[in-house]
């Protein structure tokens, strides 16, 4: 399959990706190991050792061993299985319902939680708030261009809320671990396991919070801030652990394993998502604003590590449904003028 976009001949990074260059064979600097390392055996081995060591010493000391950010997608479903079946953790699954989760994904969430015998907690902000937030993240330069090399602006807004809400739960219930289903390429190599100290990262989140408060009001604080009294009561910060990053497993194998729990692929999402109806729209906004697909880096990492073929990755990127994009544009009452302003968002800065 081909498209009209100039891409690396080995991975799927396109000519619009920041700081990219190609050699005479059309191979990019990411494939030549000159830009952005997403894999390093030494770091992976050390992370694996640290995860096992910390799980062993942290298990069984609280009501739950871990809170799992569970979207119902294939990666977080497999991560939840790993947490319960491979590592023997007592997990509280937490689902953030952004109002655009596919109904089939919700069936998956309930079925998998039931099959793994884990408690499940869902938080759903009002749809009015979510729509305001999606508009704000779509049409304002909320995040830096570098943050957006691996994620779309709207996905980042949802994930930031998921991370903060999960951290709040962990602090309130003294849960030592926070799990998520990220893969390398989606997150940096050095963040497979890290201690999550809210106050240390508070400063770095301030520019984002200020922009979002301006656009959607103080309601954002309910989902992106933690109260001082709770922070003052903290004796031990939890660890964020991205278990899937230390597994060498192809998408095909993941699907094979999770299907045993009754998990099924939703039909109303694009090729890069397995749970969220917003994804096609988010990618469309990203492509219009920055000129490349937000999944390029993640998929290129998978290709580089022989976990996906280039053809499969291209198929995913090109599986974008205009119907899904238009449905969201209509639901959010987005005007043609707003859409035509996207290319200017980061030029105004």
């Amino acid at each position: 399959m081909t498209d009209n976009i100039k891409r690396c001949t080995k991975c799927v990074l396109s000519a619009s990706f920041p700081n990219i260059n190609f050699d005479e064979n059309g191979v990019c600097n990411f494939c030549r190991d000159e830009m952005y390392h997403t894999a390093d055996e030494d770091v992976l081995d050390k992370s694996k050792e640290e995860i096992i060591r910390r799980f062993e010493s942290g298990k069984g000391k609280s009501q739950y061993d871990a809170v799992m950010c569970y979207s119902g997608g294939k990666d977080s479903t497999y991560t939840l299985m790993l947490a319960v079946e491979k590592y023997g953790l007592n997990v509280l699954a937490f689902t953030f319902d952004n109002g655009f989760i596919s109904p089939v994904a919700f069936e998956n969430i309930n079925r998998v939680a039931e099959s793994l015998n884990v408690d499940l907690l869902t938080i759903r902000p009002s749809l009015k708030f979510m729509k305001k937030l999606i508009r704000a993240s779509s049409f304002n330069p909320v995040y830096t261009k570098r943050t957006l090399t691996r994620i779309s602006s709207n996905c980042n807004s949802c994930i930031t809320m998921v991370n903060i809400l999960a951290l709040r739960m962990a602090l309130e219930k003294k849960i030592p671990f926070i799990l998520a289903g990220f893969t390398l390429g989606q997150i940096p190599l050095n963040t497979i396991i890290y201690k999550n100290n809210y106050r240390f990262f508070q400063d770095s989140r301030k520019p984002i919070l200020d922009k979002l408060r301006k656009a959607v009001g103080d309601e954002i604080d309910k989902y992106m801030c933690i109260d001082e009294p709770l922070l003052d009561s903290v004796t031990e910060d939890p660890y964020n652990v991205n278990l899937l990053c230390i597994e060498e497993i192809s998408e095909e194998k993941i699907l094979e394993k999770i299907r045993k729990t009754g998990w099924t692929q939703p039909e109303d999402v694009d090729g890069c998502s397995s749970n969220c109806r917003l994804n096609a729209f988010n990618n469309f906004i990203h492509e219009q604003t920055l000129g490349y697909n937000p999944y390029e880096l993640e998929l290129s990492h998978l290709i580089k590590n022989d976990l996906l073929t280039r053809e499969e990755a291209l198929e995913k990127i090109q599986d974008k449904s205009e119907t899904q994009v238009n449905a969201i544009i209509e639901e959010l009452n987005i005007t043609p003028d707003e859409l035509s302003s996207l290319k200017e968002i980061y030029k105004k800065k």
């Binding site: 570098r146 997150i187 770095s204």
Partner: protein
């Protein structure tokens, strides 16, 4: 292992340039990387983990201040002090 200030600076700036897809001469070494839009909170985690792994400097809670992490030069000074304790 002992490092000179220049060695620390070179290793840290190589890492930042490569991982955050930025040219070294684009970075103001006396300004916050966050304020310059070079890193976000995940980037901050990445840098602290790199410092721990590369220089053997454990970043404890008391070290997590703007005074130590507020710019490239401040980070280099912090690492230099820690490795030469």
């Amino acid at each position: 292992m002992a490092y000179t200030r220049d060695e620390i600076f070179n290793k840290l700036s190589d890492f930042v340039a490569q991982q955050f897809i930025v040219e070294k001469d684009e970075i103001n070494m006396d300004e916050s990387l966050i304020d310059q839009g070079v890193i976000d909170s995940l980037g901050l985690i990445e840098i602290t983990t790199f410092i721990e792994k590369q220089f053997g400097v454990t970043v404890v809670e008391e070290d997590m201040t703007r005074e130590n992490f507020g710019s490239m030069n401040k980070m280099v000074d912090h690492i230099f002090r820690a490795v030469n304790k």
